[in-house]
């Protein structure tokens, strides 16, 4: 009898742990998206800068401020695509974030690495691959507001990045001197495609060849994207990783849905399901690594960035089951606070909240808003 009682207790504990948390968490509504967007809009209009972060590295502080403006612009834009009635409300914050992305102060981390200002050397310059991120945000703003004050810089940046991509012998150019990252280049490609979508331009002639070349950076065994490679030889460096694959699956959805889907298939194999809570492994089987500035903390093989970025990939590829599991995890550890007016995640901070907004509101519907190509 005592054994039966103990068995019932264990069954109750396991049953409740398996059912209750996954039932209570993981629910979102369009109204919550709008409230969350209000929280992020408030963050970016109240003085976020590199000085708001204290990672211990000036480059990373700058990158985090840059990332906050980038993700806020993307997230707010996606919310506006789903809620056109909110356009007037969020457009000022989008404009402000986009303007901050193009300021020298925000790009100081890149200037320090290259010794020149990326946005001031567009015509004759090379490298500065991180500018693909800024350009994706500018292109999103362009999709929402075609005659935005940032239109000229978006055009010039797109042309410069397209030229660098077309001339790259192995489909890559450098983010920083001596450092090239396929996930960054996927941002470059996505930003060019979204710019062209916003203006109703046809696909650029070099893109099909670039796609074929870029596919070499997908590890055939795991289906994940290599995080780094040698731009001069096209040789992958280091292991393929979940965080880079997830962000590339998001950005490439703007340029090549099939390639994005291919990456997502690999990423999906990295998913961990624990009692209905989803997480993503940072490294594929056979590779071991620790956390870094890209992956965030890696605990028991699970990466924070890979898990967060995979939210967008799951949404873009209409994988509701995995999205819900991942969102439960974000809700459990992120801790949403606020009300129907404004929401934010307690453990997000300005960058984390902006990322979560962009990742949870990613939508394949962006393509419906493209201008029709001129005949």
């Amino acid at each position: 009898m005592a054994k039966l009682g103990r068995a019932i207790r264990y069954l109750a504990v396991f049953g409740c742990a398996a059912i209750v948390p996954s039932t209570v968490l993981g629910h979102r509504s369009p109204e919550q998206d709008v409230a969350f967007a209000r929280g992020v809009a408030h963050d970016v209009t109240s003085g976020v800068s590199a000085a708001s972060f204290h990672t211990g590295s000036a480059r990373f502080d700058g990158e985090w401020a840059f990332g906050t403006f980038l993700m806020a612009t993307l997230g707010l834009g996606q919310v506006v695509l789903g809620h056109p009635e909110e356009r007037a409300h969020f457009l000022p914050a989008m404009r402000q974030s986009a303007a901050r992305l193009t300021q020298n102060q925000t790009n100081a981390f890149g200037t320090e690495a290259w010794g020149n200002v990326g946005l001031e050397t567009l015509a004759e310059g090379h490298g500065h691959g991180y500018l693909g991120y800024a350009n994706l945000a500018l292109s999103m703003l362009r999709l929402i507001e075609p005659n935005t004050p940032q239109a000229q810089v978006n055009d010039e940046l797109t042309e410069a990045l397209a030229q660098r991509l077309a001339q790259a012998p192995h489909g890559l150019f450098e983010t920083y001197p001596g450092e090239a990252y396929p996930p960054d280049i996927s941002m470059v490609a996505g930003s060019i495609a979204l710019h062209d979508c916003a203006l109703g331009l046809s696909e650029r002639p070099f893109m099909p060849a670039w796609r074929r070349t870029f596919a070499r950076y997908v590890d055939p065994d795991s289906g994940l994207l290599y995080q780094a490679a040698d731009a001069a030889t096209g040789t992958p460096l280091g292991p393929p990783r979940g965080s880079g694959t997830a962000i590339a699956a998001y950005s490439l959805a703007f340029a090549d849905r099939a390639l994005s889907a291919h990456l997502y298939a690999g990423l999906r194999r990295q998913a961990v399901n624990l009692l209905g809570f989803g997480m993503m492994r940072e490294y594929p089987a056979g590779h071991v690594g620790s956390g870094d500035i890209d992956s965030g903390p890696v605990l028991f093989g699970v990466g924070v960035s890979a898990t967060g970025f995979a939210l967008a990939a799951a949404r873009l590829h209409r994988d509701d089951a995995l999205f819900t599991r991942l969102y439960r995890t974000a809700e459990l550890f992120g801790v949403p606070l606020g009300d129907s007016t404004s929401r934010h995640f307690m453990s997000g901070g300005p960058l984390g909240n902006a990322i979560l907004l962009a990742m949870t509101t990613a939508t394949p519907e962006w393509s419906r808003h493209c201008r029709r190509p001129a005949s």
Partner: protein
């Protein structure tokens, strides 16, 4: 675990979960963790451990405790009444 104990524990953890999040938020949890200020970390890290511990217990352990307590409470109550 008896029903009253399970309920008191549940209420306590739910309160920590509810109020702790607001407290950590008002203390600037993320900015505090990133800031190289030892004194702030000394406060934030233990608070965060208690908070997340309570949150995990609230979602993953308490429902089971309450269910188990309720499941085993009825026979005892019946037995006590019969004894009286």
């Amino acid at each position: 675990v008896t029903v009253p104990k399970a309920l008191v524990l549940g209420l306590g953890c739910a309160l920590v979960d509810l109020l702790g999040a607001r407290l950590l938020d008002s203390l600037g949890f993320v900015q505090g963790l990133l800031a190289p200020n030892g004194a702030q970390l000394l406060v934030l890290i233990p608070l965060a451990c208690v908070y997340y511990g309570a949150r995990l217990v609230t979602y993953f352990v308490l429902p089971a405790l309450v269910v188990a307590a309720l499941a085993f409470a009825r026979p005892r109550t019946v037995a006590k009444k019969a004894f009286r």
